[in-house]
């Protein structure tokens, strides 16, 4: 399925959950906030939250330096 990832089209290989997508992308879940269709997903829900074709997924890094 195809999603919009960080503003660009992305063809999901195997994943169907947020956790799966982060794994597929090689992104550590504790280092990012994830938003799907404008809704921030709770970290605890990453494992169960399904991703659907056409979803707009945004992955925002935790950046804390000043």
């Amino acid at each position: 399925m195809e999603i919009i990832l960080n503003g660009e089209a992305y063809l999901v290989k195997r994943a169907n959950t947020v956790s799966g997508l982060l794994d597929e992308l090689g992104v550590k879940s504790e280092l990012v906030a994830v938003e799907i269709n404008m809704n921030i997903i709770k970290r605890a829900d990453y494992i169960n939250k399904k991703i659907n074709g056409g979803d707009r997924v945004e992955i925002v890094n935790f950046v804390g330096g000043g």
């Binding site: 938003e35 925002v60 890094n61 950046v63 804390g64 330096g65 000043g66």
Partner: protein, 275 residues
């Protein structure tokens, strides 16, 4: 070049020049002639009170531009001392200030730049017990801190006290900018939920930061603060701005209030009495 009142086109500027000294009319000339700032805007700037948390890479730049612009009152909060490894990016400091408190060092730099600004130095670490008292008198709070504990603390206090917050952060080649208007859209906690466990997210000390990145983000923070103060233009609302220095991209990620946010959600678990 000397400045003359007659150089101004009155209808573009609006407001009165009464109360500005001749020196100020010259110093702020490029604001006075700027349509959208003018005398009205400059007066707002010179009456504004801003609390700046952190006098590091971001804070150095933010304070520099706010003081150059003639902000009325600036509080600088930082409990760290200047180190040689800071000077690669923290441009308010210099060699002679090694081991000097950063808020104090930055204040010295800014006072030399513009004696108009009333600068208050706070050398203590920002914590739950002092944040209310520190920011209560200020119109806008700017976050240039270097850790998540402080970032969440500032966000929560600002939301609960109704203070607009201009938050910026940097790491590596990336910078982020967010403006929080309390109870009007998202806050920092809406997006990032909670302080990540210690040691999980890398710091600038561990993975580095290109010195000019806080320059870019700090400038944008000063810009958003001045727009909030002057009341002109559109402040960054409803999104996070993400800057990537490597591919020169600015990306806006739209965000909205998170109903489960602990500080501004539908059933918040935090209140002003937590501070």
């Amino acid at each position: 070049m000397d400045f003359h009142l007659s150089d101004l086109v009155p209808e573009l500027q609006g407001g009165s020049f009464v109360g500005f000294t001749n020196e100020q009319l010259t110093r702020y000339n490029r604001h006075f002639v700027l349509s959208g700032i003018g005398a009205v805007g400059q007066r707002r700037i010179s009456q504004a009170k801003v609390a700046l948390i952190g006098a590091g890479g971001l804070g150095s730049v933010i304070g520099y531009y706010l003081c150059a612009a003639g902000i009325g009152k600036l509080a600088i909060v930082d409990n760290d001392k200047v180190e040689l490894s800071n000077l690669q990016r923290q441009i308010a400091h210099n060699m002679a200030r090694i081991d000097v408190n950063k808020a104090e060092s930055a204040a010295q730099t800014y006072r030399a730049l513009n004696p108009d600004v009333d600068i208050k130095v706070f050398k203590e670490r920002l914590v739950k017990g002092n944040i209310r008292g520190l920011i209560a008198d200020y119109d806008v709070v700017i976050d240039g801190s270097d850790n998540f504990q402080t970032r969440f603390l500032i966000n929560d206090a600002c939301v609960l006290m109704g203070k607009p917050l201009v938050s910026g952060a940097v790491l590596g080649f990336e910078g982020q900018l967010m403006v929080v208007m309390p109870h009007d859209g998202h806050c920092y906690r809406c997006v990032f939920e909670d302080v990540p466990p210690d040691g999980v997210v890398p710091t600038c000390r561990e993975v580095g930061v290109l010195g000019a990145v806080p320059g870019v983000i700090g400038s944008l923070q000063a810009m958003e603060a001045i727009k909030l103060i002057v009341g002109n233009g559109e402040v960054l609302k409803g999104c996070i701005l993400i800057y990537n220095a490597l591919n020169v991209s600015f990306r806006k990620v739209a965000v909205q209030r998170n109903p489960s946010c602990k500080v501004c959600g539908t059933t918040p678990s935090m209140s002003i009495y937590d501070f």
